[in-house]
């Protein structure tokens, strides 16, 4: 019922506030309808700064032009973006050199100033300064003291066994409906492919990241050209003492524990997201991060671009400036777990009513050349989809060319809060409370600032001093994808591969496991805490392309085809997609289950019963065989691995030598993923 009420409210809000076809003449709190409205004004329905607004000029002003404009407006105009040497062309392409912030003097009124600015010929656009919200549900929830878990992984981080979002074993103590494999499938990537690369930098555009955190400090990006704490802009980039990033709210040091007397303010949000992306792995401490390295200094790096501080920040100008900083200082990914609560019905409605300074900055980021990232001709922005239970994504993540992330729980199903539908591109674990009573472990576990209070299992507020805690939200789903993308860039760099940025984004969206079969089989989702249930019917085919899978992305990067097997049953897998429609008639020479694949997927030994009559090639370990052009296996665990298959093309034996003419050797390395759901791309129909 909650879901339906919220959705109805959202639709009503969209209908009332977002009609992109109508002229902007409706009186609003920002525009009292005095008859002087001009099309230059971009307005928003709610929540904007009262003491500043933004103008985009029609051309880059000279100092004389600027002085004249300031006189006409009666206030100072400050460039939103400091210019970066060598990037003037890109800045100009996106008009960043034409954005200015105007302060509203105390004796003036915002709307009057906006009207005045809109009448100036040199002014192309006027924007109110919208304020975004963090996409987290609730606060920090207390983690139980770390003990050795039931699973053992590659790393010695004691909390890793509680991070079901990396490897979900279907533990019923996490959720009675926990689903094996409802995770990001990263363990096998760590084991055999990559754990990260210190050259790949992820900017967390958020609150301040606690860069002194014991599980983060070794993976923090460091601006080596800046001397800490000397009060000087040593590298001349316009920001003083920006060693680990910058606090764009206060223009001072990065902070993470600013809380008012009522307990409102910093929430630990950024530190939690940062830990998911790249908490230091295998350091015997706390949690693991998706791209946190192997414990040998090889983790991806975190840059803190602080746009929220205490109860301040989040405005579009601050956010845009922080995103440009990330681009200029070498971040390959921005992880943005925030968005606007205002519901916009389309990209045009968003641009028209919200403005474009953020979008200009995001496109500047994505198109920036990056010396740290030899893999792509650009960078990638990842946003959260929002927690309003809307049947559409919120902006800016909803923008057509930006990846936005919806959230699923440990049951592999949409969470009660996640946005879904148009604009939502992909899904990842966001955690979800209420699966079990008096436990928070169905949420996402990561690093938090020890200075902040945590909510105990009985609802009490504790000042625990703990460095780890649970949170939930699409805010937590977003950094999972950011971390996977960071791993992907690390792996591509290791292989010496390069990709077009847009092609890489398509690969990300194609690197998924099915989520819809599970939704289709579960009309209603129930919670331990509530008698009401969540109707899942509306979510079918609305959670983006599916659940992000790190292994699949690495296989896309390698160029290795991936087939999907269903865990827990003997089966054959059609090889048509590997060898073409002739697969059934090829002569096969060898099949080899490689590396740790048999262990990862728990492959049972499987032998053909009629091999004497019908040719079959059998893996040396007995874990797979090929017969009738099909691969026969029996996985018993959720996992991933590779199998090499050798066949003859153009004959029934290899040619050459004294043999009659024969064929050529075909060797194909095939990736296999075992999952609860049949992925549909490996097992074909009988015919």
């Amino acid at each position: 019922m909650k879901h339906q009420l919220i959705s109805c409210g959202a639709i009503l809000l969209a209908l009332l506030s977002c009609n992109p076809e109508s002229p902007d003449t409706t009186p609003t709190p920002n525009n009292q309808g005095n008859g002087t409205q001009t099309p230059k004004i971009l307005k928003i329905a709610e929540n904007n700064l009262e003491d500043a607004f933004l103008v985009k000029l029609g051309s880059v002003p000279t100092s004389e032009d600027l002085s004249a404009l300031e006189s006409a407006l009666g206030t100072c105009l400050t460039p939103v973006f400091p210019s970066t040497p060598g990037k003037e062309t890109l800045e100009h392409r996106y008009g960043l050199d034409r954005w200015f912030q105007a302060e509203v003097p105390q004796e003036e009124h915002l709307d009057k100033m906006v009207q005045k600015a809109s009448l100036l010929e040199q002014v192309a656009l006027v924007e109110y300064c919208a304020v975004a919200q963090k996409d987290v549900e609730g606060g920090i929830y207390e983690a139980s003291p770390a003990t050795k878990g039931t699973m053992s992984g590659s790393f010695n981080d004691p909390y890793l066994s509680y991070q079901w979002h990396y490897k979900n074993s279907g533990d019923r103590s996490v959720s009675p409906s926990a689903l094996s494999g409802a995770d990001i499938n990263v363990w096998d990537v760590w084991t055999s492919l990559t754990c990260g690369d210190p050259g790949i930098v992820v900017a967390v555009v958020d609150e301040g990241v606690k860069y002194t955190h014991p599980d983060l400090k070794d993976n923090m990006w460091v601006n080596k050209d800046e001397i800490p704490g000397n009060g000087i802009d040593d590298d001349g980039n316009g920001y003083i003492d920006d060693v680990y990033g910058f606090n764009f709210v206060t223009n001072g040091p990065i902070s993470w524990d600013v809380v008012d007397a009522q307990g409102n303010g910093d929430s630990g949000h950024a530190t939690h997201c940062a830990g998911t992306i790249a908490a230091v792995n295998n350091n015997g401490t706390g949690v693991a991060g998706v791209a946190g390295g192997s414990g040998n200094g090889d983790g991806c790096r975190i840059m803190s671009c602080q746009i929220f501080s205490g109860n301040a920040g989040g405005s579009s100008s601050i956010t845009a400036k922080a995103i440009k900083y990330a681009a200029d200082m070498g971040a390959s990914i921005i992880s943005c777990s925030f968005g606007l609560r205002v519901a916009y019905a389309s990209d045009n409605a968003y641009i028209k009513r919200q403005g474009s300074v953020e979008i200009d900055a995001i496109h500047y980021f994505e198109d920036s050349e990056n010396a740290n990232n030899p893999v792509l001709n650009g960078n990638i922005a990842i946003f959260s989809a929002g927690n309003e239970t809307h049947d559409f994504c919120h902006y800016p993540g909803a923008f057509y060319d930006i990846i936005s992330v919806s959230a699923f729980g440990p049951d592999g199903l949409p969470t009660y809060y996640t946005n879904y539908g148009p604009g939502c591109n992909i899904s990842a674990p966001g955690g979800e409370a209420y699966h079990v009573v008096n436990k928070w472990n169905s949420m996402v576990l990561s690093t938090v600032p020890s200075e902040l209070p945590q909510l105990g299992v009985n609802g009490e507020i504790n000042k625990t001093g703990l460095n780890y805690g649970y949170m939930q939200g699409t805010s937590m789903a977003c950094p999972h994808v950011s971390g996977v993308v960071a791993l992907g860039l690390s792996y591509a760099k290791k292989l010496g591969k390069t990709f077009d940025r847009d092609d890489f984004k398509k690969m990300i969206l194609a690197s998924v496991n099915d989520i819809d079969q599970r939704i289709a089989k579960t009309p209603e989702k129930k919670y331990a805490y509530y008698q009401s249930a969540l109707n899942l019917t509306p979510y079918y085919h609305q959670m983006g392309t599916g659940a992000i899978d790190a292994w699949r992305l690495m296989m896309h990067i390698e160029g290795t085809p991936t087939l999907t097997a269903k865990v827990g049953q003997k089966q054959w897998i059609d090889l048509t997609s590997i060898f073409g429609t002739a697969s059934i008639s090829l002569t096969y020479l060898e099949v080899e289950v490689q590396g740790s694949a048999a262990q990862s997927m728990g492959l049972q030994k499987i032998m053909p019963t009629n091999a004497d009559k019908y040719p079959a090639v059998i893996d040396a370990g007995g874990y797979a065989y090929v017969q009738f052009g099909r691969l026969y296996i029996h996985p018993t665990l959720i996992g991933s691995g590779k199998i090499k298959i050798t066949a003859v093309g153009g004959g029934d034996h290899l040619g050459g030598g004294d043999n009659p003419p024969g064929g050529m050797e075909l060797v194909e390395e095939v990736s296999l993923i075992s999952r609860e759901a049949d992925g549909g791309n490996g097992t074909g129909g009988w015919l």
């Binding site: 049953q569 003997k570 053909p608 009629n610 079959a616 009738f628 129909g685 015919l687």
Partner: protein, 140 residues
Amino acid sequence: MMKKVFYLAAALLLALTGCKKEDTPQQSNVLDIAGVWELSSVTTKVNVAGVEVSVYLDFAAGGSFTLYQQIGEGRYTKFTGSYTCTETSVSGSYSSGKPWGPYTATVDASQLVLTSASGKETDTYKKVGSVPASVTGNLY
């Protein structure tokens, strides 16, 4: 199948208009495999190399088909698509666009035999009245 209907209609028309006998079209020999078929053996056994297989094929007269298959344990998976027949073979494609066949086919009132182009696999089906409810009610 549409082709066959067309030929029959044309034959009827020609008969009514009194054409000469030698002008009457020959009866089509295109295979008619319409009906519901249950897989009874693969080459010689239903038990394919240690993996239990259960397959029902429902070929509709209009050229569409529905396939229900159970490989190993678990529920049945349903596939749909289209098919065409010649005088000796059958081929088609799944709804996904993925092609299958051609199989060399022989058919009579009770049995359909499909042999792969390579000759390495022969699947024999027996005709049944309908797909059992235990199958259609046990889908993924």
